[in-house]
Symmetry: C2
Subunit: 240 residues, 2 copies
DNA sequence: CGGAAGATTGAGAGTTCTCAATGCCTGTGG
DNA sequence: CCACAGGCATTGAGAACTCTCAATCTTCCG
């Protein structure tokens, strides 16, 4: 039974048994981390490639004034940037949100694996998707109202989670406090709270005690102006 | 005399003469484009790698409501995503801003070139920098005030331009209307106008008739909370 | 039961947008 | 060389959105 990382890459590319085995082997011995632990900090020299096997993490940058902006969420199956080791230092930090199991793939192993075409292809696609996601976030921050922005984020997380088997029907575990959501969408936790209430009232989504429930997918998708094209999912929509 | 694309890659990696020659050759026959021409549209099947040799372009997405959000600026020397051809379709569009000369590198040639370690390394670094830039934009949109946001963008563009020889002292040609700036920073052109006035009044920058003048680099950097680390420039700051 | 973290509420202050009118500059045709 | 059209840039004023700053609830745990 493949782990979520392998499972995710398989969605992009048909991997050979040897390739899957190599990926499995490379991530077979994850390390446990508690919540709110920095895995790597801005300014650090990049190390091995990190792979989230269990638990959630986030990428963030802090501003001179002390503010924090989250620039990405990492859920089980997600890997941190291929090739970062080409850079002299990290331009952002990565921190766990929950308890987590993260595997670490040393550069040499990574290099060896990238010689296998399927793996290389899958990793490249995965990176392009991450980039598309960054662009989608910029669009949200720049041109969507706060309700739409939150709706968009929730839908994105739901879709990604569903793809790695983390959603059950229209429900999933979402371990993000309103303060964390606020740092991701560029708002105040107070305002996130009110917008979440609005969404709840509208009957589109519900997010309480760490469980997200997409009550009305169609309405939510319309409201958020959500077009999943940037996730480059090969399969058909989860909802259809 | 190397073109700006080669010049830019050389900033990241020491290329061998053969590598430089290959890059030169691959971009030796650019095509001219007029202003406001889509080079590729969201939904299109990705084609060859594009390289801007002269003129500016932008990446953008349009929303259901009709709004437009710019997610990146391309200036001479910049290339569009390596590997995009792995995706079934573009998740955003690219359009020229000014008259432009853009070269086109077919997949097979690109592949052949990537076999040369220096070129591969430079292209990967370049992609990581683009990604870092996307993250920096997210931070700006989420956590910076509108003046800071504009100041940050102007500084970024100035630094990047300076790196490819497009700045003269503290001055550069910036062919962006206030409406374009607005679509990039997620504001209204009316508000961009007012914030630009504020910057002008403060004596930090000036942007008039297409010329940007960084009057007080230190003050501007402080105001914008600008940390160039995400550009991963190997050389020392232009200002120091 | 006591504490701590996270979720909610209220009210007033600030920021940014909307809408519409006006001003400025440039290239073109007469 | 001048008038005119079109594209930008600028202004004003009121409306809409978000934030700030507390204060109050709830929930989760030891």
């Amino acid at each position: 039974m493949a782990n979520r990382f392998v499972e995710k890459l398989c969605r992009f590319v048909q991997l050979s048994p040897e390739e899957m085995a190599a990926l499995e082997e490379a991530t077979a011995r994850p390390r446990p981390f508690g919540p709110h632990r920095d895995l790597i900090r801005e300014g650090d020299r990049p190390g091995p490639v990190l792979v989230m096997l269990e638990g959630w993490a986030l990428r963030y940058k802090v501003l001179p004034g002390g503010g924090r902006q989250i620039v990405a969420f990492l859920m089980p199956g997600d890997a941190c940037d291929l090739h970062v080791n080409l850079l002299a230092e990290m331009d952002h930090s990565i921190q766990t949100i929950t308890n987590a199991q993260v595997a670490t793939i040393p550069g040499e192993i990574m290099e060896k694996m990238m010689a296998q075409p399927g793996i290389a292809r899958a990793m490249y696609i995965s990176q392009l998707v991450d980039e598309g996601t960054l662009r989608a976030w910029i669009v949200s921050m720049g041109r969507r109202s706060s309700v739409e922005r939150i709706a968009h984020l929730l839908l994105e997380l739901y879709r990604r989670a569903a793809d790695v088997g983390l959603a059950a029907g229209d429900t999933m575990a979402l371990p993000l406090s309103q303060a964390v959501l606020a740092d991701a969408v560029g708002m105040t936790s107070v305002h996130v709270n009110r917008m979440l209430q609005e969404l709840r009232r509208s009957g589109a989504v519900t997010l309480q005690r760490g469980v997200l429930n997409i009550c009305n997918p169609a309405a939510l998708t319309r409201l958020a102006g959500f077009d999943e094209n940037y996730l480059h999912r090969s399969r058909r929509s989860v909802f259809s």
